[in-house]
Structures are given as C-alpha cells and as structure tokens.
Amino acid sequence: MATAEKKSHALAPDTLKDFLREMLLIRRFEEMVEERFRAGELPGFLHVAIGQEAVAVGVCRALDDGDVIASTHRAHGHTLAKGTHPNELMAELYGKIEGCSHGYGGSMHLYDVERGNLGANAVVGGGLPAIVGSALAFKLRSEPRVAVAFFGDGATNIGTFHESMNLAQLWGVPAVFVLENNHYAESTPAKQQLPIDDLTKRADAYGMHAMKIDGQDVEVVYHAAKKALKHARDGKGPVFLHVETYRLTGHYIGDPQVYRPKEEVRELRRTQDPVEKLRSALELPDGEWEAMEREVAEIVEGSVEFAKAGTDPKPEDALKNIYA
C-alpha cells in the first residue's frame, strides 16, 4: 500500500529536497547536542532521535497551521520539525532565557505554544490524555484542527495509552496517535515488553482506524500522515499511525548499550538510515549535498553560538511562572 501511495502521489523533487534538508538539520543538530553534552556543556538528561528523523519531518510537514502536537522525552526532532528555530531549541538545552521553554523545561520539556507544540513529556504516555482533550476542544468549537501525539512502543504498555485511545475513539475526536515503534524501550526489546508482534492490533481494541507504515521513508510518512490527518479533520475519528522506525543510537546520550550487540547497530546504520535513504533516492549530486551540509552546519553552529551568548536566568526567576 505504502509504495503504491507513494508512487501515485509522488512529491516534487524540491519538496523532497526540503524534507532532506530538514532531516539533515535534525541529524546534525542532535549530533552537535551529543558532542556538546560529552564536552560537559549541556546539563540534564538527553535523548536523541537519530534514525527517526523521517517520522518527525514526515508528520510535521503534513500538519496544517493550527494543528498541535505533544512530544516525548525524545523531542528535539519533533520540536524542530514543528517549526521551533534551532537557536531557540539549543538555547533551551543550554538553560537560557531565549530557549523555547525559557530555561524552565530542558530537553524533555520542550514547548513552543505559538507554533503548536504543547509540550514534550518526560513521563512515558504522560502527554496522551491531553491530546485527547485538546482534540475535544477543537471538536466542541467546530475548529478544523487536529491534535497529534507522538509516543514509542514502550508507551503502548502504559494505562494512559489505553485510556486515551479508548476515550478518543469513543468521542470521535480529531486526534492522530503516532506510534514511533523503534523496537526498544530503553534497554528492553520488544519480546521482553510486548506480547504481540504487530502493535497495529492495539488499535483494534478500540475500533480505531489504523495504518502501519515504513518510518524510514519520509515520503511514505508524509502521505500516510496527510491521510490520517484528513480522516481526523473530516470528523471520521482518530487514527492510529503505526510507524516502524529505528533508534540508531543509545537510549540516552552516554548509553553504553550493553543490551544489544554492536553488530545490530552497525547493520541498522547501514540499512535504515532515513537521511541516507532519501539522499540516495534523490540521487543528489555531491555538490548539492555538500552545500546542504554546509548550510545545515552553519545553522547548527549558529545555534550553539546563539545559545552560548544567551541570557542566564537569575536564580530567583525559579519562582516565576508557577501560577498564572
């Protein structure tokens, strides 16, 4: 299905180049984050989504203005793809007032409300119920908006997932549940946490419309997301979008990954890198690629400079923003 779909709605090469550029930006941004973290410059607890860039870009590019998202602990990609400037994201990771959460959030709590990012969540499954509620608000007010939740395979085991899916379907709210199935929850592989092979079945328990797609192909993700969003926006109820993807790094920055063979990661890097896949599909001439790399590198380096030059909060600022 996915391939047929892709062929019949092929995106213009320029659009795909734009997607590639965005994916590359996310990749290089996160690599920089890893580097800066290892250099001891970044505080806190960081998780990169290297390998999952096509999901963030494919889904977020399919959104309309006014649509909202909720993200997870692995939030940099979603945040950038939803339109937050790399400067603001990097500034947040450096704990600066210019950051997208003004230094209050950090990597696991990225917000950009103006751009429809209602927040990343460090509690697995914690953001799902709110997405149902935002979608309900859109429905009650007859606004043509959709609320989108990102979450992982591990999150499908938690009660909040169940209650949220059930409620969304019962009330027919315009929500899309994007499962980024990267086959691991921290160190725990599918077979130690999931009694079924195909997580698409989880949607059946609620009678929710489900789609299962290859998340390493951004075009496939984009088309599927468009369809899912249309379904939701047209009042046909929520959609469960099961995206198969891969985490090409550790769970968190610094994870020695003792729980999986080095070979697995090497093989995945070789076969499942969404950036490389798109680059070779596009048959991008070396020159263009290098230009893209340079452009992206400049943005990423710029974001580090921006962040470092940012304003530290005053200690007492901690006592602001507790109440409205």
Binding site: L128, A130, L167, Y323, A324
Partner: protein, 326 residues
C-alpha cells in the same frame, strides 16, 4: 436563592458559569442521566446537553488529562472524580502534568482546570471510599487547593475556581451536601487565600476544614458553656493559605488547635502547626493541638469507623487540653 444546600450551591456555581460562557463544560463518570453519584449535577444534562455534561468511561487518568488538554486549548473544563480515593489513579496527571505545564513551558501555557471531588467518612463504606487526601496536594507547587465548608463558600469558591487560570483541586465533603445555608443572590467569587472567621473568640483559635468546621463550631458552643471563648477559623483554601489570618488570630488567643477529618500524621494540621509555632512562637501559651483521624485505614464496622474519625467531642477535648483544663 436565599437558603440553599451545599449540593445545590455546587450545581449553581457550575450552571452559572456554563450559562455565562461556552468554554465551561463538565466531564465525569455518571454525571449525565444519573446526575452524579451524589446528585450534584442533577438536571444539568437537560439544560446543557451531552456535549457539555459528558459521561465518561471509568478512566480517571484520561479524564483528568483530557481536562488538561482542553484547558490548554482554551476551555475551562470541570472534571469530577467520583470519590477522592480515586484521585490516586490520576496523581500523575494532576501532579506531573496539570501542576507543571505552565512552569515547564516558562509561562507559555495556562491550565484553567477545575477538578472536583468529594469524600468523607461517617457512612461506613470501608477503606477505599472515604479517605481525606487533601494534604498531598498542598505539597505540590502549581496546584491550588480549595476545601469549602458552607453553601455560600462552596458556591463562590467553585465559581472562582472555574475562572481561575490555574489547576484547582476542589474538595467537597460528602456529609455536607445536605447542609443548608443562606447564600447571596449573586455569586461573589472569593479570592483564594482568604480565611473566614466563623466565630470570634478570645481563648483559643481552632483552625478547621471541611466537616470539622461544623464540629469545631459545635465544640465551641459547648466550650462557651464552660467559660472558654473559642475562635473558629476556616482557611477555605489550603493552597494558597491565609497564614496571616491564622497567625493574627493566634496572636490574639495565644492558643491553637487544628482540626480536620484526615489522618493526623502528615495531615494538613502538621503544616498549620509548623507555621503557627514558627510565626507565632512568642505568643503561644501551649502547643498547637492537632485533631484528626486516628492512624488507621477506615474500618467498615460503624463502631470502629466512629472511633477513628474525629468529632466535636475530640475538638472539645483538644480545646480543653490546650487551655489547660483537661
């Protein structure tokens, strides 16, 4: 509406807000046709329809969370948790989400959500249907906590909660639903953090919440007969707390008892005692006395339940002990 019950007063505050604007709606288990397990929402389905008076599945996490999401999207939802004991299921959403979104976003979001719940012993439902857990929420920055004890206060405070831009946990006491009292014609939203002095007195201040306000008033009446003049103060909101009013009262009376139905250990009274001993240390002529449930889950048998939860006589005993007449 001159005389009304606590139950009607709750309903009236919600209905008034729902009439006033479309952003207010209510969700909860069995609140529609059945009118709620306590009859609080009776008739509201007829007036407002099923979109705004929404029966929900048994999904405490999701309904609180849906309230959060709707609130972040510009609504002013009211979520009913049927029994306070079941807030245990929604703690993650209340504590990690509702209370923190504004903060974690650096002020970008607000969560104008009201979570109503009720509880209270005295009818022998056993250990899982009558706990008083309000103290937990007072420990959570980002939340507001209300616990009104009269029809007038419950109406005004609930209305204020609905229009507060922060998440409010709103505690109603089961045994007060039938309580009648005068309420003003118009709703007058009360400011959070303003105590009410129910009775003035000279010898001892009783800080009481919920049902214990009424037990304290009964105890004060009796104490009066024995020559002890008791001031009864109801903070009405536990977070924020009107510390100044409590301290001012104790500076006048030089003695203090704090009374609630919850278990004494780590109950709200601990916080009041800690504040009073700190801020009114030089005024205190006796230790702050604490009245509350004995350290036990709630037993079923009425004889035992009666023993565990506090009554007017326990407040009276604490008053006497504090004024040195025990």
């Amino acid at each position: 509406m001159p005389e009304t019950t606590y139950r009607e007063a709750v309903r009236d505050a919600m209905s008034e807000a729902m009439r006033r604007d479309e952003s207010v709606f209510i969700m909860g288990e069995d609140i529609a046709e059945m009118g709620g397990s306590m009859g609080v929402t009776q008739g509201m389905l007829d007036e407002f329809g099923p979109d705004r008076v929404r029966n929900t599945p048994i999904s405490e996490m999701a309904i609180v969370g849906a309230g959060i999401g709707a609130a972040m999207a510009g609504m002013r939802p009211i979520v009913e948790i049927m029994y306070q004991d079941f807030t245990t299921l929604a703690m993650e959403q209340i504590v990690n989400q509702a209370a923190k979104h504004r903060y974690m976003s650096g002020g970008q979001l607000k969560v104008p959500l009201t979570i109503r719940t009720q509880g209270g012993a005295g009818w022998s439902p056993g250990a899982q249907h009558a706990q008083q857990l309000e103290a937990w929420f007072v420990h959570v920055p980002g939340l507001k906590v209300a616990f009104p004890s009269t029809p007038e206060d419950v109406r005004n405070l609930l209305y204020a909660s609905i229009y507060d831009d922060n998440p409010v946990i709103f505690f109603e006491h089961r045994t007060l639903y039938g309580l009648k009292g005068d309420v003003p014609e118009e709703i007058e939203p009360v400011e959070f953090g303003k105590a009410r002095i129910h009775r003035e007195g000279e010898d001892v201040t009783v800080v009481a919440t919920g049902r214990l306000v009424h037990e304290a008033l009964a105890a004060a009446e009796e104490a009066e007969g024995e020559g002890i003049s008791v001031e009864v103060l109801d903070p009405r909101t536990l977070l924020p707390l009107d510390e100044d009013a409590i301290v001012a009262s104790v500076e006048k009376t030089n003695r203090c008892v704090v009374a609630h139905e919850a278990v004494v250990r780590m109950g709200f009274g601990a916080e009041v005692a800690a504040i009073v001993q700190e801020r009114a240390f030089d005024y205190l002529d006796a230790p702050v006395g604490r009245v509350g449930a004995k350290f036990s889950p709630l037993p079923f048998a009425p004889i035992m339940e009666e023993y565990v939860v506090p009554h007017a006589r326990d407040v009276l005993a604490a008053i006497k002990k504090t004024v040195g007449k025990n």
